[in-house]
Amino acid sequence: MSAVISAETTGLEAPPPRRRGIPGTAVLRQTHGLQRGILIVGLFMIMVFVLVAVLAPLIAPYGFNDDRAHGVIFGTQQAPSAAHWFGTTVGGQDVLARVMFGARTALEVIVLAVALSLLVGVPLGLVSGYIGGRLDRVLVLITDALYAFPSLLLAIVVSIMITGGRSTPLGGILAAAISITVVFVPQYFRVVRNAAVAVRHEPYVDSARITGATPTRIMFKHVLPNVSQTIPVLATLNASEAILTLAGLGFLGFGIEPSAAAEWGYDLKKALSDATNGIWWTGMFPGLAIVLVVLGVTLVGESLNDVLNPLLRTRGGGATTADEAEVAGLDPDGSLLDPEVAGLGADGKPLGPDGDGLDPGDAGPGAAEEPA
């Protein structure tokens, strides 16, 4: 929420209001009924995921690579029991422990990947959109080409580049995160760049230029706050894609070394042959873990999308009519499942410069009613 307020007010050259209370509660307060329920469910799922990830060494019954405790071997492919709630794998490890430590791996990779793509994609988009010219055209061409490429393949190629196809100390979590980063950078680049192009000639940018502000200052102080509304949504939706990409890499045997960390995708790959023999527990639990985390993150992302775009509020903010929303190029439906409103394509990826997505110039929060 505070992002919306500050985005609107800095446009008027007023100091941004100070953030009060826990971040996120403001967003929560703006929701109603079903939407609030969905947001809470999503937040709860993420909270459980983060807690398990952080506390894994404390709450997991065994280490992720242990095949014995106190000198007693677990045995391979044991059905779920009191000693092993989720059973044991083909390698004789405890499935529950691997699922818990897998959460840790996933969290590390998500945080790294999203942070890295923000760090690279946002400044690149700002510079490209604000400065424009030949640099802009070349960057757009390159990122468009990368964007069109199947993201998993791109991640594989980058992963090869980093690790040389063999396991190195670097080859673990950082390599996976960088591989995923390369997939996401074009997305941030496109969103930020298109928004920057739209506000480049707004009066407040011109006036800043006249007063002699440096391009760097203009970009980060004047342009960035006005183009950043969609970034939280994109980052959230990307987080869910990061989990799927990480699992995909692991499933193809191209992720993190199994002895270095537990990874859900790798466990699912190992569980494939078990499934043919009717052993369900080795694959079911890591798979469910992926589904639940992606589900939680997606629910939060889509709720954020609705809330941070005041035009879409169906209840509470009655000032917006469908016509106004249509003028702004938005789907007036206000549907929970419509990512297109944040300048994102239907698959959660941002639309291209020629896509008919959100034009931040006229659909920013300033165009809507007062945020409550």
Binding site: A148, G164, L272, M284
Partner: protein, 347 residues
């Protein structure tokens, strides 16, 4: 100045510009893939290092030309690509172009089956959700759409295997055909490598049924993923067109609600699907890699995994490059279709 050589008609000009844009797109992808894969070193050492002596490795490197400046190699690689020569796999000595044709047919078959599933599931469910907006039917269909998005294809595939193969025993767990059938189908001329076509050409009903039974689970796993996207699209677009003036006009004339949806709104709601199809192709090819590995479906994705694990980067590079070209060309074709179908497309 460049405008002069372009056609007058805006549509033709749009198509010309779009066609011209394919070249840099493909070139960028080929370049990125080439240099990314070479940063780590030469493919011979990667694939055979440790198995051959340093002298042998050096000899192989020299024979393959990997010891020369990287720029020369890159330009030569581009030149060979222009002639359709993707090189030879290091590990099994197969021609990459032959891999692309043979295994590409399998991927094509899988993608088509999956698209059929996606349309068959996504379109009716999307319509249903739009008609019952915000009621139980709508909510459950939307939850279903999120769930199939949240589940990785290989997990969905694993669940399908557990249910239909190992528990119920109805469907074969993997492969494209039973070994005996696959052997028989090798004798079909002309052999297309598209199993269902080969089976029909062979003309034995038992074979056709066997091929179909093998296709069900992979098609479901990959198709449902796309169906989730279709549901959301159809629903949103249908809701939007249902508000359009011409729909209201039809209602005012007393046209029945079912007919309004079917005749007036639905067709217009399909237009954006075509647009998204372009993006879906890339997503489906990514999904196909995982689906093929899950069901041992010997397509490009399966071969890619195989070569990845063998660290045969010449083969990997060839397959990845080919997929990049396919993606660029398909998105061009989709753009053309879109420009022809939708008069609102801006050139």
């Amino acid at each position: 100045m460049a405008v002069r050589i372009l056609p007058r008609s805006p549509l033709l000009r749009y198509l010309a510009v779009r066609l011209a844009l394919i070249i840099p797109t493909v070139l960028i992808l080929v370049t990125v893939v080439f240099f990314f894969m070479r940063v780590v070193g030469d493919p011979i050492t990667a694939a055979l290092g440790g198995r051959l002596s340093p002298d042998q490795l050096a000899a192989r490197r020299a024979a393959a030309g990997f010891d020369r400046p990287i720029l020369n190699q890159y330009l030569e690689y581009l030149g060979r690509l222009l002639h359709g020569d993707f090189g030879t796999a290091l590990t099994d000595r197969r021609q990459i172009s032959e891999v692309l044709v043979t295994n590409g047919a399998a991927t094509l078959e899988l993608t088509v089956w999956a698209l059929i599933v996606a349309f068959a599931v996504g379109v009716p469910l999307g319509r249903l959700a739009a008609r019952h907006r915000d009621r139980l039917g709508d909510v459950s269909i939307r939850v279903f759409a999120i769930l199939v998005y949240a589940a990785p294809v290989f997990f969905l595939g694993l669940l399908l295997k557990l249910l239909f193969s190992s528990t119920l025993g109805w469907l074969p767990a993997s492969g494209r055909a039973a070994p005996a059938v696959a052997l028989e189908l090798q004798n079909v001329t002309p052999r297309t490598n598209i199993m269902i076509v080969d089976a029909i050409l062979y003309g034995d009903t038992g074979n056709i049924v066997d091929v179909l039974r093998h296709a069900i689970m992979p098609a479901l796993a990959l198709g449902l993923l796309t169906a989730g996207v279709f549901i959301r699209l159809i629903r949103i677009n249908l809701l939007e067109t249902m508000r359009a003036d011409y729909v209201m006009a039809a209602r005012a004339r007393g046209v029945s609600e079912a007919k309004v949806v079917r005749k007036h709104a639905f067709r217009n709601a399909l237009v954006p699907i075509v647009t998204v199809m372009g993006m879906q192709i890339a997503m489906m090819l990514g999904g196909a890699i995982l689906t093929e590995t899950t069901f041992e479906w010997q397509g490009l994705g399966y071969m890619l995994t195989h070569y990845l694990l063998a660290r045969d980067f010449v083969a990997v590079q060839g397959i990845v490059t080919a997929i990049a070209v396919v993606v660029a060309v398909t998105s061009f074709l989709i753009d053309i279709i879109n420009a022809l179908v939708d008069p609102r497309v801006r050139y």
